[in-house]
């Protein structure tokens, strides 16, 4: 398994339900190093109050709780109370009944007890990654929109057109005339913009009507902001 970037976990809150105090304590002690907040509880009742008071991004629950059942709790949460929170179940059983219930409930993942910490972290990571990525994309989009609001709008249009029409080999196969047919800009603006990009090694002319877009030469946005 490739090494995952566990840094993304740092922005999330985790709810951990386990009826065995020792295990709860030590697992929570490890998990707290990776996540923003860990809510470690012994019962479903406590868990519910945590959910009602805090933003919970992921639930990890033992199936076989004292006088309770983790899957039943998740069901109640999802269908009766309307919470749609991704969840991982932990079980000492490889009992098919539980698994079928878990699949029906569309539980995101499960881990087998005794808990392997790496497996647990990976499972959490795999569930949280799309959420983190979505957040990232959202951020970038907002950033572009912000930039376009304060700089020349035409340049942003041009960047959009170039990125949209890159082929599989990151090649841009358009002449200035073709560009002007699609984007409402003047020829000098296009020439100036292409020269600027060429100077920074971002867009390199290979031959006529053929340019290579070098992703690697893009400056780091954070650094740029810092500047």
């Amino acid at each position: 398994m490739d090494k995952r970037n566990l840094d993304i976990l740092g922005n999330f809150n985790i709810l951990y339900i386990e009826d065995e105090p020792e295990l709860l304590k030590h697992t929570a002690a490890v998990l707290e190093d990776f996540v923003k907040n860990i809510f470690a509880v012994l019962t479903c009742k406590e868990a519910l109050s945590v959910i009602q008071k805090n933003k919970v991004d992921i639930i990890i629950t033992d199936i076989n709780l004292k006088y309770e059942n983790g899957i039943e709790f998740l069901k109640e949460l999802k269908y009766d109370l309307g919470y749609d929170i991704p969840s991982i179940v932990a079980t000492a059983y490889t009992d098919t009944d539980y698994l079928i219930d878990a699949i029906k409930l569309k539980v995101e993942d499960y881990i087998v007890k005794p808990i392997n910490l790496k497996d647990l972290l990976n499972a959490i990571h795999d569930i949280l990654l799309p959420i983190a990525q979505e957040k990232e994309i959202n951020n970038s989009y907002n950033m572009i929109k912000t930039i376009s609001a304060v700089t020349d709008g035409k340049q942003v249009e041009l960047v959009k057109f170039i990125l949209k029409n890159l082929d599989d080999e990151s090649m841009f196969n358009y002449s200035y005339g073709d560009i002007m047919n699609h984007v409402d800009v003047s020829k000098p603006t296009v020439i100036k913009f292409f020269r600027q990009l060429s100077e920074k090694g971002i867009l390199t002319k290979i031959q006529n009507k053929r340019y290579f877009f070098n992703e690697n030469n893009l400056p780091d946005p954070s650094e740029e902001i810092d500047e």
Binding site: L23, H26, A29, V30, P114, I115, L117
Partner: protein, 535 residues
Amino acid sequence: MKNFFQYVNKKIKNIKFASKTKILIFTILGGIIFTSFLMFISIFALKYDFEVLFQNHTSPQVKLEEIKDIYQVNIKETLNALKENQISNAEGIEILSLANQLANRQWQEYKKDVSKKVGGLPEFASNWLNFFLTNNDSLKKSLFEQRITDNIEKKIGSIGEKTQSLISLLKKNQAKIDIKLIDNTILESNSINIYLSTLITNNLKRAISKKEANDKLFDTSSIMLIFLLSFAFALIILISIAIINNFKELHYSLEENILKKTKELRVLNSSLERRVKREVENSRKKDNIMFQQARLASMGEVLHNIAHQWRQPLGALMMIIQSFQSKYELGKLNEKFVEDTTNDALKLGQNMSETLDDFRNFFMPNRVKQRFDVRKAIQKAIELSKYQLEKEKISLEFSSDKSLVIYGFKNELIHVVLNLINNAKDVLTSQVELKQKMILVILKQTKKNIIINIIDNGGGIKDDIITKIFDPYFSTKHKSMGTGIGLYMSKELVQRHMMGKISYKNIKHKFGQIKFYNSAMFSVELPLEVMKDYG
């Protein structure tokens, strides 16, 4: 003769006993009836002969003698007296007419007597017997007798006429009597007397011959009777002997049979004794195996329990180890964390070790009596079944007044309590609709006993099987669940090893605050004295 006996014996053997008796009775009856019949016949025949002899041959002789006297004395004497004029005419007339009349009447009576028949049963018997004896009646009236009788009649007639004419002459009082007529009459009366004498003689002769026939008849019937009686006797004796022989044989064969059967019985008895011994041994072995099985079964349950009890701290320990790695990688491994976490890990390890000790102590074949706290023993049993109870969501409550130290087999008591809790657990598990599943363990002390009550709200036991619950191999549970020896073993342990009692009752019991449940209650009663004696 011997062959005949054998033949009869053989025949008789084949006849049923009842038939044999019937044959004997019929033979005796037939003999008696036939003999009596013959006797009666003979008696009647003799009676007939006697009657005939008397009536026809004896009593008529008297009449003939009288007639003879009349002629001899009255007529002859009177005529002689008339001839010599010794009597008067009138007297002569009177005597003569009287004599005539008398003679006539007597003669008629004689004839009547002679011709009289005896008749009736005796004659029939005599004829019947004569027919058998082929004794023809040779005594029919002979011609000779007939002629004599005829002559006597003629003579009576002529004498009558002559005396009649004499009487008429005397009446005419003719002094001179016809002497010739008188003489003639005397002659006639003489001759009639001769005839009469002849008849008498003849009759006597016939009587004599009749007597001879009678003798012959008597002899014959006597011989016949004797013969018949002896025949009947012989037959009876023969059959009796045959039957007795048969009895004897039957008796011997029965005796032989009895001897044989007795011998067989004796052999059977001795082998039975051996077999009983062997079976008792077998059953003891079986019991031992059963106990072993029950032990293994509860061992399995406890093992299951311990596995679970181990799994939890094991999971925690593994997490602790991983946490060290994780903290180290993140550079957060400081002294405090190492100290705290190591302490936790050691506690967990200690706990696991204790669990193992419990298990080992409980299943060590330790048959030594020891002092122990009953309350702690019960708590141990509850501990050992905790996991199963939690799994089935059964809550268990234990209440006791105080700790009771007694002297006895600790492990066995734990075993019994464990069995009873398991039993309650199994019942409650099968009650799917029951919302609150509860077990109550109550420890009490009375003056003489320690009482442990184990109550569950699983509805109790049906009346029809209540008496069987302590029987070996009796189980209401599905085969996969129960071996049917848990309660039996508990009973054996309590009764034999602890000298106590185990009993069962269906009760209504209040669980929690309000609700009364139909409940099952097992009570274990242990006598304090026995347990303390060795203390």
